[in-house]
Each structure stands twice: as C-alpha cells, then as structure tokens.
Symmetry: C2
Subunit: 212 residues, 2 copies
C-alpha cells in the first residue's frame, strides 16, 4: 500500500511585511496562492488550505481558519488532515514556483526513513548571529548553512507530536527537531523563492514573462 500524502497550504498571513494580504495578489492571471495550491494538489492525495478567518467559506471542510501565528495556523490545518495520512507536507502560499520534483524529493526522503525533509539552498551572504544591541555574537561557518524552503514533508505522527507542544517556530522542521526528530535537507530550487516584498512579486512576474 503506497503512503497517503496530504499537504497543508498556509495562506493565513495578514501581509504585515508586504503591506497587504499578499496571497491574493495577481500573478500570471491567478492569485498567488493558486500556484501553491495547484502544485500541492498534483503532489499528493489531498490538500488543506489555511486562510485568514474572515475568508473561510462556509461548508468546505478542506479550508480552515488560521491562528495567531504561523505555527498555530499549521496546527489548525493539521486538525483537518485525515487521520490515515502517512506523510504531511507543509507549504507556504508565498512560494509560487515549487515544482512537482521538489514535492517528490521531500516526500521520498521521508519515505526513505527521515522524520522530516526540507529543501535547502546554499547561503551566499555571510550570516552573523547578533545580540539585542546589534553586536556580533558569532559567524557560523557558511558552508554548513542552508536557507530552507517549503514544501517540507514529515511523517504525519511525528508532525502531530511536534505540534502538540504548542511551540512556535519559523518552520515546522524546527518543531520536529525540538522533539528529537531527524530532519534532512534535500537540494532546494533557487527559483522557489518566497514572495516577501513587493519587489519579489515583480521578480516573479518577470520570471513568468521570460518563460513564456
């Protein structure tokens, strides 16, 4: 019996950094979030979409309201994932260019035995850890760093346990790591950028224009 794969698409942000709820911005004739939704639908057996509470349509069990934080939003999504799902992916709606191959790569790594798998790319800038005053505390060796993306795939039971704690993290892998889960990084895709600033949306539109 093949593993059942579900994906939670997180689109619950209020757009604090972007200035407006970016998930509804137009990109190539669709909403930004439709790109992530479509990729997620093609990648597995089902999708749960997490939206701002005000935007959740009545009577659609596959669309749920987000929470006060990203991690809480994922928890709300996880509660709507069927109990027989074996592998759960979490994907940010702000990444329109995640490929089918990338979903496959993270799911395959979990099938191969990892508790979680995340795509990661090399970091080109030197990264420093600073304290509250802006003084440098340390410079981690750059070759050991990966900037990680979504989709992130997890064994469903491990992800559920990781979220039971109610902990917060900038990604789900961090929560799985915190309970001792083994997470591996697979090669990410430089094109799979997160749309954070209006500048990034301009870049995404240019990408689409140049690939047509």
């Amino acid at each position: 019996v093949p593993d059942t794969v579900w994906t939670i698409v997180v689109a619950a942000g209020s757009g604090q950094r972007f200035g407006m709820p970016k998930q509804y911005e137009e990109l190539g004739g669709r909403r930004l979030l439709d790109w992530a939704l479509e990729a997620a639908k093609a990648a597995g057996d089902g999708v749960v979409l997490v939206l701002p509470a005000a935007d959740v349509p009545a009577g659609d069990p596959s669309t749920v309201a987000g929470g006060a934080s990203r991690s809480e939003s994922v928890r709300h999504g996880l509660a709507a994932v069927p109990g027989d799902a074996d592998i759960v992916c979490v994907h940010d709606a702000a990444r329109p260019f995640a490929s089918a191959a990338l979903f496959e790569a993270v799911v395959d790594a979990v099938r191969a035995g990892a508790d979680g798998a995340v795509p990661g790319v090399a970091v080109t800038d030197t990264v420093k850890v600073v304290d509250g005053t802006g003084a440098v505390v340390s410079t981690p060796e750059r070759s050991t760093l990966r900037a990680v993306q979504t989709p992130q795939a997890f064994r469903a039971d491990v992800l559920r346990r990781a979220h039971e704690s109610g902990r917060e993290g900038t990604d789900d892998a961090a929560l799985v790591e915190a309970i001792g889960g083994r997470v591996v990084v697979v090669p990410g895709d430089p094109l799979n950028r997160k749309i954070t600033h209006p500048d990034d949306l301009a870049w995404a539109r240019a990408q689409i224009a140049s690939s047509r």
Copy 2:
C-alpha cells in the same frame, strides 16, 4: 584631525560560481567593478583595487594582485594601504549598489568605538545548520540572524592584526571576531545585493533600467 579612511575593493575572483570573471561584466555602460570603485573613491581618502594577477597593470601602486583565497586577496590589498590609514573598509566588487550612506554608516560606527562594523539585513528564509550528510544539526533563531554585506569598516590596526594570523573567512569581520574584536551590525540595504549568479546581473540591469 579627522580619521583617514581607505577602502580595499576586492575584484580578484575567477568567477567560479558565475562561470566567468564577473567583475568585468557590463552593467549600465560600465564594468561591474567600476560601480564599487566609484562608491569607494567617494567614501574616503584612497582606494586599493585587488585584481586577478594577470590583469594588474604595471606601475600602478594602487592596483595589486589577488591571492589564492578571498582573505589572501584582502591581505595583499592591506599591504598596499598606507600605514597612516586609521580606518580601512573592505568592499566586494560584486556589490554595485552600495550607497555613500552605507559607507558612512559603517565608518561612523567604527569612529564611535567599534573595532569593526558591517551592514546586515534580516534573513527571510529559515536557516539551518547541517552536517556533512545533510542532516539538520540546529535551527538558529531567525530573529537573531543577519545576512551581512560589504562595505565592512575596521580600525586599521585591528584589521591588520586579524589578518596576521593568515586565517580564512567568508568575510573580514569573522577574522576580527576571531581575535576578540568587537564587531557591530548596522542596518544594511536590501538593494546592496551581491551579484553571484547571471540571474543577479539581470536583476541589477533591471534595477538600473527602472530607476532611469
């Protein structure tokens, strides 16, 4: 007496990641490196340019040959900086859009007492530390991370001492940190991106086109 400020512009790369020596690529009617050179000249009292050995013109004491690594190239540049320089900036030729204000900010922070000052911007992706097998070792708290840029400014005597060790680092600040120097991060500029891939050069060209 005001402090004497010199800048080392590092343009000694062979373009391993880029596919060709990127410092000579055309950008807005000039070579990529001319942008950094011009900003550096406006920012202080003198500039030393570090080029691939084959490209160093005879009889120009302000242009020197690079070494086998970035840190060695900076050391070669440092040897050509006059002994009476009080503050030395190091700037990568691959960053065409460093503003005069950014040079001023790092130099001012050193004038105010830091051993070194570097521009840094918030990190938008979650960053993980991995081991040699790609397994995640840790997830540093993202709010404490800064992606750092150049120009980086240093007290000249501290930078010289840091380089005496012959150590290697992905930036000069790491060498200063390694000998116990106090380095601070000042707000960087998202536009001050490093041109690493041909994609980045296309972005830089679009920036120039849209600002005209």
